[in-house]
Symmetry: C2
Subunit: 282 residues, 2 copies
Amino acid sequence: MHNITTKILLGDSREVLKEIDDNLIDLIVTSPPYADRRKNTYGGISTEKYVEWFLPVSEQLLRVLKPTGTFILNIKEKAENGERSTYVLELILALRKQGWLWTEEFIWHKKNSYPGKWPNRFRDSWERVLQFNKARDFNMYQEAVMVPVGDWANGRLKNLSETDKIRDNSKSGSGFGKNISNWLKRSMVYPNNVLQFATVCNNKNHSATFPEELPEWFIKLFTQPNDWVLDPFLGSGTTSEVSQRMGRNSIGIDIIPEYVEMVKEKVAQKESSIFSHNKIAV
Amino acid sequence: MHNITTKILLGDSREVLKEIDDNLIDLIVTSPPYADRRKNTYGGISTEKYVEWFLPVSEQLLRVLKPTGTFILNIKEKAENGERSTYVLELILALRKQGWLWTEEFIWHKKNSYPGKWPNRFRDSWERVLQFNKARDFNMYQEAVMVPVGDWANGRLKNLSETDKIRDNSKSGSGFGKNISNWLKRSMVYPNNVLQFATVCNNKNHSATFPEELPEWFIKLFTQPNDWVLDPFLGSGTTSEVSQRMGRNSIGIDIIPEYVEMVKEKVAQKESSIFSHNKIAV
DNA sequence: GTTCCGCATGAATCGATAG
DNA sequence: ACTATCGATTCATGCGGAA
Protein backbone atom coordinates (compact mmCIF):
# COMPACT_ATOMS: atom_id res chain seq x y z
CA MET A 1 0.00 0.00 0.00
CA HIS A 2 1.47 3.32 -1.06
CA ASN A 3 1.02 6.58 0.76
CA ILE A 4 -1.90 8.47 -0.73
CA THR A 5 -2.35 12.18 -0.14
CA THR A 6 -5.88 13.57 -0.01
CA LYS A 7 -5.85 17.36 0.33
CA ILE A 8 -9.07 19.23 1.03
CA LEU A 9 -8.73 23.00 0.66
CA LEU A 10 -11.14 25.77 1.62
CA GLY A 11 -11.52 28.83 -0.58
CA ASP A 12 -12.26 30.28 -4.00
CA SER A 13 -10.70 28.12 -6.70
CA ARG A 14 -9.58 31.19 -8.60
CA GLU A 15 -7.24 31.98 -5.70
CA VAL A 16 -6.49 28.60 -4.17
CA LEU A 17 -5.44 27.07 -7.49
CA LYS A 18 -2.59 29.59 -7.71
CA GLU A 19 -0.85 27.73 -4.90
CA ILE A 20 -0.62 24.55 -6.92
CA ASP A 21 2.53 23.83 -8.98
CA ASP A 22 2.59 23.86 -12.77
CA ASN A 23 2.07 20.53 -14.55
CA LEU A 24 1.22 18.55 -11.43
CA ILE A 25 -2.25 17.18 -12.13
CA ASP A 26 -3.10 14.14 -14.25
CA LEU A 27 -6.89 14.49 -14.22
CA ILE A 28 -9.28 17.29 -13.41
CA VAL A 29 -12.84 16.07 -12.99
CA THR A 30 -15.45 18.48 -11.74
CA SER A 31 -19.01 19.61 -11.84
CA PRO A 32 -19.13 23.36 -11.24
CA PRO A 33 -22.29 25.08 -10.07
CA TYR A 34 -24.47 25.48 -13.17
CA ALA A 35 -25.76 28.91 -14.12
CA ASP A 36 -28.75 30.00 -12.04
CA ARG A 37 -28.65 26.79 -10.01
CA ARG A 38 -27.81 26.23 -6.36
CA LYS A 39 -28.55 29.79 -5.42
CA ASN A 40 -28.83 28.82 -1.78
CA THR A 41 -25.37 27.38 -1.49
CA TYR A 42 -23.26 29.00 -4.20
CA GLY A 43 -25.09 32.25 -4.81
CA GLY A 44 -25.97 31.42 -8.39
CA ILE A 45 -24.02 32.66 -11.41
CA SER A 46 -26.18 34.21 -14.14
CA THR A 47 -26.06 32.78 -17.64
CA GLU A 48 -24.79 36.09 -19.01
CA LYS A 49 -21.77 36.21 -16.69
CA TYR A 50 -21.00 32.50 -16.59
CA VAL A 51 -18.19 32.37 -19.16
CA GLU A 52 -16.54 35.43 -17.68
CA TRP A 53 -16.81 33.83 -14.25
CA PHE A 54 -15.37 30.49 -15.35
CA LEU A 55 -12.38 31.55 -17.47
CA PRO A 56 -10.10 32.62 -14.58
CA VAL A 57 -10.57 29.17 -13.06
CA SER A 58 -9.89 27.30 -16.29
CA GLU A 59 -6.82 29.46 -16.86
CA GLN A 60 -5.36 28.06 -13.64
CA LEU A 61 -6.51 24.57 -14.53
CA LEU A 62 -4.62 24.81 -17.80
CA ARG A 63 -1.49 25.72 -15.87
CA VAL A 64 -1.60 22.99 -13.23
CA LEU A 65 -2.53 20.17 -15.63
CA LYS A 66 0.22 17.96 -17.05
CA PRO A 67 0.59 18.04 -20.84
CA THR A 68 -0.57 14.42 -20.83
CA GLY A 69 -3.50 15.15 -18.50
CA THR A 70 -7.22 15.53 -19.10
CA PHE A 71 -9.91 17.97 -17.95
CA ILE A 72 -13.43 16.52 -17.55
CA LEU A 73 -16.24 19.06 -17.15
CA ASN A 74 -19.78 17.96 -16.24
CA ILE A 75 -22.34 20.64 -17.02
CA LYS A 76 -25.81 21.19 -18.48
CA GLU A 77 -27.74 24.27 -19.53
CA LYS A 78 -31.25 24.70 -18.23
CA ALA A 79 -34.42 25.57 -20.10
CA GLU A 80 -36.05 28.86 -19.26
CA ASN A 81 -39.02 30.56 -20.82
CA GLY A 82 -39.20 27.87 -23.46
CA GLU A 83 -35.59 28.03 -24.60
CA ARG A 84 -32.29 26.36 -23.75
CA SER A 85 -29.52 28.68 -22.58
CA THR A 86 -26.49 28.94 -24.84
CA TYR A 87 -23.87 29.64 -22.21
CA VAL A 88 -22.39 26.15 -22.33
CA LEU A 89 -21.85 26.43 -26.08
CA GLU A 90 -20.20 29.79 -25.54
CA LEU A 91 -18.06 28.30 -22.79
CA ILE A 92 -16.76 25.59 -25.09
CA LEU A 93 -15.81 28.16 -27.70
CA ALA A 94 -14.16 30.36 -25.05
CA LEU A 95 -12.15 27.47 -23.60
CA ARG A 96 -10.79 26.65 -27.03
CA LYS A 97 -9.71 30.27 -27.42
CA GLN A 98 -8.01 29.97 -24.04
CA GLY A 99 -5.86 27.17 -25.40
CA TRP A 100 -7.79 24.01 -24.55
CA LEU A 101 -8.41 21.28 -27.10
CA TRP A 102 -12.07 20.17 -27.14
CA THR A 103 -11.39 16.48 -27.52
CA GLU A 104 -14.76 14.89 -26.93
CA GLU A 105 -18.28 15.30 -25.60
CA PHE A 106 -19.59 12.37 -23.62
CA ILE A 107 -23.27 12.08 -22.82
CA TRP A 108 -24.29 11.19 -19.29
CA HIS A 109 -27.67 9.54 -19.74
CA LYS A 110 -29.47 9.86 -16.42
CA LYS A 111 -31.92 7.02 -16.21
CA ASN A 112 -33.83 8.51 -13.32
CA SER A 113 -34.23 12.10 -14.37
CA TYR A 114 -36.28 14.64 -12.50
CA PRO A 115 -40.01 14.12 -13.06
CA GLY A 116 -42.46 16.69 -14.33
CA LYS A 117 -44.70 17.49 -17.27
CA TRP A 118 -44.86 20.57 -19.43
CA PRO A 119 -46.76 21.42 -22.57
CA ASN A 120 -43.66 22.15 -24.60
CA ARG A 121 -40.96 19.68 -23.54
CA PHE A 122 -40.15 16.32 -22.03
CA ARG A 123 -38.04 15.59 -19.00
CA ASP A 124 -34.35 16.42 -19.31
CA SER A 125 -32.48 13.19 -18.80
CA TRP A 126 -28.95 13.87 -20.00
CA GLU A 127 -25.99 16.07 -19.16
CA ARG A 128 -22.85 17.00 -21.02
CA VAL A 129 -19.50 15.58 -19.92
CA LEU A 130 -16.94 17.59 -21.87
CA GLN A 131 -13.38 16.41 -22.33
CA PHE A 132 -10.64 19.00 -22.81
CA ASN A 133 -6.91 18.44 -23.20
CA LYS A 134 -3.70 20.43 -23.32
CA ALA A 135 -2.11 18.30 -26.00
CA ARG A 136 -3.15 15.66 -28.51
CA ASP A 137 -1.14 12.81 -27.01
CA PHE A 138 -2.76 12.52 -23.58
CA ASN A 139 -2.78 9.40 -21.43
CA MET A 140 -5.76 7.09 -21.89
CA TYR A 141 -6.05 3.62 -20.38
CA GLN A 142 -8.94 2.20 -22.36
CA GLU A 143 -8.61 -1.37 -21.07
CA ALA A 144 -9.42 -0.15 -17.57
CA VAL A 145 -13.03 0.60 -18.46
CA MET A 146 -13.87 -2.38 -20.62
CA VAL A 147 -17.26 -3.84 -19.79
CA PRO A 148 -18.97 -7.21 -20.18
CA VAL A 149 -20.71 -7.37 -23.53
CA GLY A 150 -24.27 -7.67 -22.31
CA ASP A 151 -23.99 -5.23 -19.46
CA TRP A 152 -23.04 -2.30 -21.59
CA ALA A 153 -25.74 -3.00 -24.11
CA ASN A 154 -28.28 -3.24 -21.33
CA GLY A 155 -27.09 0.02 -19.90
CA ARG A 156 -26.36 -1.37 -16.48
CA LEU A 157 -23.02 0.14 -15.71
CA LYS A 158 -23.49 -0.43 -12.01
CA ASN A 159 -22.24 -3.98 -12.22
CA LEU A 160 -19.01 -2.64 -13.61
CA SER A 161 -17.15 -2.19 -10.38
CA GLU A 162 -18.15 -5.61 -9.15
CA THR A 163 -16.97 -7.29 -12.30
CA ASP A 164 -13.76 -5.33 -12.24
CA LYS A 165 -12.97 -6.57 -8.77
CA ILE A 166 -13.34 -10.11 -9.98
CA ARG A 167 -11.12 -9.41 -12.91
CA ASP A 168 -8.46 -7.75 -10.78
CA ASN A 169 -8.40 -10.66 -8.36
CA SER A 170 -7.99 -13.21 -11.09
CA LYS A 171 -5.28 -11.20 -12.78
CA SER A 172 -3.14 -11.09 -9.70
CA GLY A 173 -3.54 -14.80 -9.15
CA SER A 174 -2.12 -18.02 -10.53
CA GLY A 175 -2.47 -19.68 -13.90
CA PHE A 176 -6.02 -20.53 -13.03
CA GLY A 177 -6.72 -16.88 -12.49
CA LYS A 178 -5.11 -16.07 -15.78
CA ASN A 179 -7.47 -18.39 -17.56
CA ILE A 180 -10.43 -16.68 -16.08
CA SER A 181 -8.89 -13.36 -16.96
CA ASN A 182 -8.50 -14.37 -20.58
CA TRP A 183 -11.99 -15.70 -20.73
CA LEU A 184 -13.31 -12.48 -19.28
CA LYS A 185 -11.21 -10.44 -21.65
CA ARG A 186 -12.76 -12.10 -24.65
CA SER A 187 -16.24 -11.28 -23.42
CA MET A 188 -15.36 -7.66 -22.71
CA VAL A 189 -15.82 -4.76 -25.09
CA TYR A 190 -14.79 -1.14 -25.14
CA PRO A 191 -17.52 1.27 -24.08
CA ASN A 192 -18.64 4.23 -26.17
CA ASN A 193 -19.26 7.89 -25.47
CA VAL A 194 -22.72 7.50 -23.93
CA LEU A 195 -22.52 6.77 -20.20
CA GLN A 196 -25.48 5.56 -18.19
CA PHE A 197 -25.40 6.22 -14.46
CA ALA A 198 -28.32 6.72 -12.14
CA THR A 199 -28.36 9.86 -10.06
CA VAL A 200 -27.81 8.44 -6.64
CA CYS A 201 -27.67 10.22 -3.33
CA ASN A 202 -25.67 8.00 -1.01
CA ASN A 203 -25.25 10.63 1.67
CA LYS A 204 -28.62 11.38 3.08
CA ASN A 205 -27.71 14.80 4.41
CA HIS A 206 -25.99 16.31 1.40
CA SER A 207 -26.88 16.68 -2.23
CA ALA A 208 -24.40 14.80 -4.35
CA THR A 209 -23.21 16.56 -7.46
CA PHE A 210 -22.58 13.47 -9.50
CA PRO A 211 -22.77 9.79 -8.60
CA GLU A 212 -19.55 8.02 -7.57
CA GLU A 213 -19.57 6.06 -10.79
CA LEU A 214 -18.87 9.16 -12.86
CA PRO A 215 -15.51 10.24 -11.39
CA GLU A 216 -14.65 6.57 -10.90
CA TRP A 217 -15.04 5.87 -14.61
CA PHE A 218 -12.88 8.79 -15.68
CA ILE A 219 -10.25 8.12 -13.00
CA LYS A 220 -9.93 4.59 -14.35
CA LEU A 221 -9.78 5.83 -17.92
CA PHE A 222 -7.30 8.69 -17.52
CA THR A 223 -5.12 7.89 -14.49
CA GLN A 224 -3.02 5.18 -12.88
CA PRO A 225 -2.46 4.58 -9.16
CA ASN A 226 -0.53 7.40 -7.43
CA ASP A 227 -1.47 9.91 -10.14
CA TRP A 228 -2.95 13.26 -9.08
CA VAL A 229 -6.65 14.07 -9.37
CA LEU A 230 -8.10 17.57 -8.88
CA ASP A 231 -11.66 18.80 -8.32
CA PRO A 232 -11.88 22.62 -8.03
CA PHE A 233 -15.60 22.47 -7.15
CA LEU A 234 -15.61 19.62 -4.68
CA GLY A 235 -19.11 19.99 -3.28
CA SER A 236 -20.02 16.99 -1.17
CA GLY A 237 -16.62 15.45 -1.83
CA THR A 238 -17.36 12.59 -4.21
CA THR A 239 -14.18 13.08 -6.24
CA SER A 240 -11.92 13.07 -3.17
CA GLU A 241 -13.53 9.99 -1.69
CA VAL A 242 -13.35 8.03 -4.90
CA SER A 243 -9.74 9.09 -5.54
CA GLN A 244 -8.77 7.97 -2.07
CA ARG A 245 -10.54 4.66 -2.45
CA MET A 246 -8.85 4.06 -5.81
CA GLY A 247 -5.36 4.89 -4.58
CA ARG A 248 -4.93 8.21 -6.37
CA ASN A 249 -3.55 11.37 -4.79
CA SER A 250 -6.06 14.18 -4.94
CA ILE A 251 -6.77 17.82 -4.24
CA GLY A 252 -10.31 19.03 -3.63
CA ILE A 253 -11.30 22.68 -3.31
CA ASP A 254 -14.58 24.19 -2.21
CA ILE A 255 -15.72 27.61 -1.07
CA ILE A 256 -18.23 26.41 1.52
CA PRO A 257 -16.72 25.75 4.98
CA GLU A 258 -19.38 23.26 6.05
CA TYR A 259 -18.76 21.07 2.99
CA VAL A 260 -15.00 21.23 3.42
CA GLU A 261 -15.22 20.24 7.09
CA MET A 262 -17.53 17.36 6.34
CA VAL A 263 -15.33 16.01 3.55
CA LYS A 264 -12.20 16.36 5.68
CA GLU A 265 -13.82 14.23 8.37
CA LYS A 266 -14.91 11.54 5.98
CA VAL A 267 -11.48 11.38 4.38
CA ALA A 268 -9.69 11.22 7.73
CA GLN A 269 -11.97 8.44 8.90
CA LYS A 270 -11.14 6.43 5.82
CA GLU A 271 -7.44 7.01 6.30
CA SER A 272 -7.46 5.71 9.85
CA SER A 273 -9.49 2.70 8.87
CA ILE A 274 -6.91 1.89 6.22
CA PHE A 275 -4.13 2.16 8.81
CA SER A 276 -5.81 -0.15 11.27
CA HIS A 277 -6.60 -2.57 8.49
CA ASN A 278 -2.93 -2.65 7.53
CA LYS A 279 -1.92 -3.33 11.10
CA ILE A 280 -4.14 -6.35 11.24
CA ALA A 281 -2.89 -7.56 7.91
CA VAL A 282 0.74 -7.29 9.03
CA MET B 1 -58.84 7.85 -46.64
CA HIS B 2 -57.91 11.41 -47.43
CA ASN B 3 -55.87 12.52 -50.38
CA ILE B 4 -52.23 12.78 -49.39
CA THR B 5 -49.80 14.79 -51.50
CA THR B 6 -46.19 13.65 -51.62
CA LYS B 7 -44.06 16.07 -53.63
CA ILE B 8 -40.49 15.19 -54.54
CA LEU B 9 -38.53 18.12 -55.96
CA LEU B 10 -35.14 18.21 -57.65
CA GLY B 11 -32.76 21.09 -57.02
CA ASP B 12 -30.82 23.19 -54.54
CA SER B 13 -32.93 23.83 -51.46
CA ARG B 14 -31.77 27.44 -51.32
CA GLU B 15 -33.61 28.01 -54.62
CA VAL B 16 -36.39 25.43 -54.57
CA LEU B 17 -37.65 26.49 -51.15
CA LYS B 18 -38.45 29.94 -52.57
CA GLU B 19 -41.31 28.38 -54.50
CA ILE B 20 -43.06 27.27 -51.30
CA ASP B 21 -45.69 29.53 -49.72
CA ASP B 22 -45.19 31.31 -46.40
CA ASN B 23 -46.44 29.55 -43.27
CA LEU B 24 -47.36 26.29 -44.98
CA ILE B 25 -45.26 23.67 -43.19
CA ASP B 26 -46.05 22.07 -39.80
CA LEU B 27 -42.83 20.12 -39.37
CA ILE B 28 -39.39 20.31 -40.94
CA VAL B 29 -37.29 17.24 -40.17
CA THR B 30 -33.98 16.79 -41.90
CA SER B 31 -30.46 15.51 -41.70
CA PRO B 32 -28.31 17.78 -43.85
CA PRO B 33 -24.96 16.66 -45.21
CA TYR B 34 -22.52 17.04 -42.34
CA ALA B 35 -19.41 19.13 -42.86
CA ASP B 36 -16.69 17.30 -44.77
CA ARG B 37 -18.85 14.20 -44.97
CA ARG B 38 -20.29 12.52 -48.03
CA LYS B 39 -17.96 14.34 -50.37
CA ASN B 40 -18.73 11.87 -53.11
CA THR B 41 -22.39 12.66 -53.25
CA TYR B 42 -22.79 16.23 -52.05
CA GLY B 43 -19.41 17.79 -52.72
CA GLY B 44 -18.62 18.29 -49.05
CA ILE B 45 -19.00 21.56 -47.20
CA SER B 46 -15.96 22.57 -45.16
CA THR B 47 -16.34 23.11 -41.45
CA GLU B 48 -15.27 26.74 -41.83
CA LYS B 49 -17.97 27.53 -44.38
CA TYR B 50 -20.74 25.37 -42.96
CA VAL B 51 -22.71 28.06 -41.11
CA GLU B 52 -22.46 30.46 -44.02
CA TRP B 53 -23.68 27.67 -46.33
CA PHE B 54 -26.59 26.71 -44.09
CA LEU B 55 -28.08 30.09 -43.19
CA PRO B 56 -29.70 30.85 -46.59
CA VAL B 57 -31.53 27.52 -46.33
CA SER B 58 -32.71 28.10 -42.77
CA GLU B 59 -33.85 31.60 -43.73
CA GLN B 60 -36.27 30.01 -46.19
CA LEU B 61 -37.26 27.36 -43.65
CA LEU B 62 -38.15 30.10 -41.18
CA ARG B 63 -40.41 31.63 -43.81
CA VAL B 64 -42.27 28.51 -44.91
CA LEU B 65 -42.81 27.14 -41.39
CA LYS B 66 -46.10 27.85 -39.63
CA PRO B 67 -45.81 29.86 -36.38
CA THR B 68 -46.99 26.71 -34.59
CA GLY B 69 -44.56 24.50 -36.48
CA THR B 70 -41.26 22.88 -35.49
CA PHE B 71 -37.85 22.46 -37.14
CA ILE B 72 -35.93 19.29 -36.26
CA LEU B 73 -32.27 19.20 -37.27
CA ASN B 74 -30.23 15.99 -36.98
CA ILE B 75 -26.51 16.71 -37.04
CA LYS B 76 -23.20 15.72 -35.44
CA GLU B 77 -19.75 17.19 -35.66
CA LYS B 78 -16.92 14.83 -36.45
CA ALA B 79 -13.57 14.53 -34.75
CA GLU B 80 -10.69 15.82 -36.80
CA ASN B 81 -7.03 15.84 -35.83
CA GLY B 82 -7.98 14.83 -32.30
CA GLU B 83 -10.58 17.54 -31.76
CA ARG B 84 -14.32 17.91 -32.20
CA SER B 85 -15.32 20.59 -34.69
CA THR B 86 -17.25 23.53 -33.28
CA TYR B 87 -19.32 24.34 -36.33
CA VAL B 88 -22.50 22.85 -34.89
CA LEU B 89 -22.21 25.03 -31.78
CA GLU B 90 -21.66 28.04 -34.01
CA LEU B 91 -24.64 27.01 -36.13
CA ILE B 92 -26.94 26.95 -33.10
CA LEU B 93 -25.83 30.44 -32.11
CA ALA B 94 -26.26 31.69 -35.69
CA LEU B 95 -29.75 30.22 -36.02
CA ARG B 96 -30.82 32.00 -32.86
CA LYS B 97 -29.51 35.25 -34.30
CA GLN B 98 -31.53 34.52 -37.42
CA GLY B 99 -34.71 34.46 -35.33
CA TRP B 100 -35.11 30.82 -34.36
CA LEU B 101 -35.82 29.76 -30.79
CA TRP B 102 -33.53 26.93 -29.66
CA THR B 103 -36.14 24.95 -27.79
CA GLU B 104 -34.41 21.68 -27.05
CA GLU B 105 -31.55 19.34 -27.81
CA PHE B 106 -32.52 15.69 -28.02
CA ILE B 107 -29.87 13.00 -27.96
CA TRP B 108 -30.17 10.21 -30.48
CA HIS B 109 -28.40 7.34 -28.74
CA LYS B 110 -27.35 4.92 -31.46
CA LYS B 111 -27.21 1.57 -29.77
CA ASN B 112 -25.36 -0.20 -32.55
CA SER B 113 -22.90 2.48 -33.50
CA TYR B 114 -20.21 2.24 -36.10
CA PRO B 115 -17.45 -0.09 -34.94
CA GLY B 116 -13.83 0.92 -34.63
CA LYS B 117 -11.04 1.59 -32.16
CA TRP B 118 -8.80 4.60 -31.75
CA PRO B 119 -6.06 5.32 -29.20
CA ASN B 120 -7.61 8.59 -28.06
CA ARG B 121 -11.37 8.10 -28.18
CA PHE B 122 -14.19 5.59 -28.02
CA ARG B 123 -16.86 4.93 -30.59
CA ASP B 124 -19.18 7.83 -31.24
CA SER B 125 -22.62 6.49 -30.52
CA TRP B 126 -24.82 9.58 -30.33
CA GLU B 127 -25.97 12.45 -32.52
CA ARG B 128 -27.62 15.75 -31.82
CA VAL B 129 -31.29 16.24 -32.73
CA LEU B 130 -31.87 19.96 -32.35
CA GLN B 131 -35.35 21.42 -32.01
CA PHE B 132 -35.97 24.97 -33.20
CA ASN B 133 -39.23 26.91 -33.23
CA LYS B 134 -40.62 30.16 -34.55
CA ALA B 135 -42.75 30.86 -31.49
CA ARG B 136 -43.12 29.58 -27.93
CA ASP B 137 -46.58 28.10 -28.34
CA PHE B 138 -45.97 25.45 -30.96
CA ASN B 139 -48.07 22.33 -31.46
CA MET B 140 -46.97 19.26 -29.51
CA TYR B 141 -48.96 16.02 -29.24
CA GLN B 142 -47.18 14.33 -26.36
CA GLU B 143 -49.68 11.50 -25.90
CA ALA B 144 -48.78 10.21 -29.36
CA VAL B 145 -45.34 9.08 -28.25
CA MET B 146 -46.00 7.68 -24.79
CA VAL B 147 -44.12 4.49 -23.99
CA PRO B 148 -44.61 1.52 -21.67
CA VAL B 149 -43.17 2.01 -18.19
CA GLY B 150 -39.63 0.79 -17.82
CA ASP B 151 -39.28 -0.22 -21.42
CA TRP B 152 -38.03 3.23 -22.20
CA ALA B 153 -35.37 2.99 -19.56
CA ASN B 154 -34.36 -0.38 -20.88
CA GLY B 155 -33.94 1.18 -24.28
CA ARG B 156 -36.36 -0.99 -26.14
CA LEU B 157 -38.18 1.53 -28.25
CA LYS B 158 -38.92 -1.04 -30.90
CA ASN B 159 -41.91 -2.23 -28.92
CA LEU B 160 -43.38 1.22 -29.14
CA SER B 161 -45.03 0.96 -32.51
CA GLU B 162 -46.37 -2.47 -31.64
CA THR B 163 -47.90 -1.24 -28.42
CA ASP B 164 -49.31 1.78 -30.14
CA LYS B 165 -51.12 -0.39 -32.62
CA ILE B 166 -52.68 -2.34 -29.80
CA ARG B 167 -53.76 0.80 -28.06
CA ASP B 168 -55.23 2.29 -31.22
CA ASN B 169 -57.15 -0.84 -32.01
CA SER B 170 -58.60 -1.12 -28.59
CA LYS B 171 -59.51 2.55 -28.47
CA SER B 172 -61.62 2.29 -31.58
CA GLY B 173 -63.34 -0.82 -30.26
CA SER B 174 -66.01 -1.74 -27.77
CA GLY B 175 -66.16 -1.43 -23.99
CA PHE B 176 -63.76 -4.27 -23.66
CA GLY B 177 -61.26 -2.39 -25.76
CA LYS B 178 -61.75 0.66 -23.61
CA ASN B 179 -60.80 -1.33 -20.56
CA ILE B 180 -57.61 -2.43 -22.17
CA SER B 181 -56.98 1.13 -23.25
CA ASN B 182 -57.34 2.39 -19.71
CA TRP B 183 -55.12 -0.32 -18.38
CA LEU B 184 -52.49 0.48 -20.98
CA LYS B 185 -52.73 4.18 -20.33
CA ARG B 186 -51.92 3.66 -16.71
CA SER B 187 -48.83 1.69 -17.65
CA MET B 188 -47.63 4.30 -20.10
CA VAL B 189 -45.32 7.21 -19.32
CA TYR B 190 -44.03 10.19 -21.24
CA PRO B 191 -40.62 9.72 -22.81
CA ASN B 192 -37.62 11.99 -22.18
CA ASN B 193 -35.12 13.75 -24.40
CA VAL B 194 -32.82 10.77 -24.98
CA LEU B 195 -34.01 8.72 -27.95
CA GLN B 196 -32.78 5.24 -28.64
CA PHE B 197 -33.09 4.05 -32.20
CA ALA B 198 -30.90 1.52 -33.91
CA THR B 199 -29.00 2.74 -36.93
CA VAL B 200 -30.55 0.91 -39.82
CA CYS B 201 -29.48 1.16 -43.40
CA ASN B 202 -32.42 0.03 -45.45
CA ASN B 203 -31.19 1.30 -48.78
CA LYS B 204 -27.98 -0.44 -49.60
CA ASN B 205 -27.12 1.84 -52.48
CA HIS B 206 -27.39 5.16 -50.72
CA SER B 207 -25.73 6.91 -47.84
CA ALA B 208 -27.79 6.37 -44.72
CA THR B 209 -29.36 9.46 -43.24
CA PHE B 210 -31.51 8.37 -40.31
CA PRO B 211 -33.63 5.31 -39.53
CA GLU B 212 -37.38 5.45 -40.19
CA GLU B 213 -38.08 5.58 -36.46
CA LEU B 214 -36.54 9.03 -36.16
CA PRO B 215 -38.81 11.02 -38.50
CA GLU B 216 -41.70 8.79 -37.43
CA TRP B 217 -41.26 9.76 -33.80
CA PHE B 218 -41.13 13.49 -34.54
CA ILE B 219 -44.00 13.30 -37.02
CA LYS B 220 -46.12 11.69 -34.31
CA LEU B 221 -45.02 14.26 -31.77
CA PHE B 222 -45.40 17.43 -33.82
CA THR B 223 -48.04 16.78 -36.49
CA GLN B 224 -51.52 15.40 -37.06
CA PRO B 225 -52.84 13.62 -40.16
CA ASN B 226 -52.98 15.88 -43.23
CA ASP B 227 -50.39 18.26 -41.83
CA TRP B 228 -47.44 19.21 -44.00
CA VAL B 229 -43.93 17.78 -43.49
CA LEU B 230 -40.81 19.11 -45.23
CA ASP B 231 -37.33 17.65 -45.70
CA PRO B 232 -35.01 20.00 -47.61
CA PHE B 233 -32.23 17.37 -47.72
CA LEU B 234 -34.23 14.31 -48.60
CA GLY B 235 -31.38 11.93 -49.43
CA SER B 236 -32.70 8.41 -49.77
CA GLY B 237 -36.24 9.58 -49.08
CA THR B 238 -36.97 8.30 -45.60
CA THR B 239 -38.94 11.38 -44.55
CA SER B 240 -41.19 11.26 -47.63
CA GLU B 241 -41.88 7.57 -47.29
CA VAL B 242 -42.72 7.79 -43.62
CA SER B 243 -44.91 10.87 -44.12
CA GLN B 244 -46.82 9.10 -46.85
CA ARG B 245 -47.29 6.00 -44.75
CA MET B 246 -48.50 8.09 -41.80
CA GLY B 247 -51.01 10.10 -43.81
CA ARG B 248 -49.15 13.41 -43.80
CA ASN B 249 -48.64 15.64 -46.82
CA SER B 250 -44.98 16.18 -47.53
CA ILE B 251 -42.41 17.93 -49.66
CA GLY B 252 -38.96 16.47 -50.15
CA ILE B 253 -36.10 18.24 -51.89
CA ASP B 254 -32.76 16.90 -53.02
CA ILE B 255 -30.05 18.09 -55.36
CA ILE B 256 -29.07 14.66 -56.70
CA PRO B 257 -31.16 13.52 -59.70
CA GLU B 258 -30.63 9.81 -59.08
CA TYR B 259 -31.94 10.07 -55.53
CA VAL B 260 -34.95 12.11 -56.60
CA GLU B 261 -35.85 9.64 -59.33
CA MET B 262 -35.57 6.69 -57.02
CA VAL B 263 -37.69 8.26 -54.30
CA LYS B 264 -40.32 9.35 -56.84
CA GLU B 265 -40.63 5.76 -57.99
CA LYS B 266 -40.98 4.37 -54.50
CA VAL B 267 -43.58 6.96 -53.59
CA ALA B 268 -45.58 6.39 -56.77
CA GLN B 269 -45.56 2.64 -56.18
CA LYS B 270 -46.95 3.14 -52.73
CA GLU B 271 -49.63 5.49 -54.00
CA SER B 272 -50.90 3.00 -56.57
CA SER B 273 -50.94 0.24 -53.99
CA ILE B 274 -53.08 2.43 -51.77
CA PHE B 275 -55.47 3.06 -54.62
CA SER B 276 -55.86 -0.60 -55.45
CA HIS B 277 -56.29 -1.39 -51.80
CA ASN B 278 -59.08 1.17 -51.59
CA LYS B 279 -60.82 -0.34 -54.60
CA ILE B 280 -60.86 -3.70 -52.94
CA ALA B 281 -62.09 -2.23 -49.71
CA VAL B 282 -64.93 -0.45 -51.48
C1' DG C 1 -32.36 -14.37 5.19
C1' DT C 2 -35.44 -13.15 0.90
C1' DT C 3 -38.97 -10.72 -1.59
C1' DC C 4 -42.28 -7.21 -1.97
C1' DC C 5 -44.73 -3.11 -1.37
C1' DG C 6 -45.13 1.75 0.01
C1' DC C 7 -42.95 6.13 0.37
C1' DA C 8 -39.86 10.02 0.11
C1' DT C 9 -36.85 12.33 -2.97
C1' DG C 10 -34.31 14.72 -6.59
C1' DA C 11 -28.71 20.10 -10.84
C1' DA C 12 -36.60 20.32 -13.56
C1' DT C 13 -39.81 23.61 -15.79
C1' DC C 14 -43.91 26.22 -16.54
C1' DG C 15 -47.81 29.11 -15.39
C1' DA C 16 -49.95 31.84 -12.09
C1' DT C 17 -49.80 35.08 -8.51
C1' DA C 18 -47.83 38.79 -6.00
C1' DG C 19 -44.90 42.92 -5.41
C1' DA D 1 -43.80 45.36 -18.15
C1' DC D 2 -40.50 42.91 -15.32
C1' DT D 3 -38.74 40.09 -11.42
C1' DA D 4 -39.44 36.90 -7.41
C1' DT D 5 -41.77 33.18 -5.33
C1' DC D 6 -44.93 29.15 -5.18
C1' DG D 7 -47.71 25.25 -6.59
C1' DA D 8 -48.47 21.49 -9.79
C1' DT D 9 -46.80 18.02 -12.45
C1' DT D 10 -44.14 13.42 -12.76
C1' DC D 11 -41.12 8.80 -12.42
C1' DA D 12 -36.83 5.86 -11.49
C1' DT D 13 -34.54 4.67 -7.40
C1' DG D 14 -33.23 3.24 -2.79
C1' DC D 15 -34.69 2.74 1.63
C1' DG D 16 -37.35 0.72 5.52
C1' DG D 17 -40.75 -2.09 7.29
C1' DA D 18 -43.66 -6.13 6.58
C1' DA D 19 -44.89 -10.76 5.10
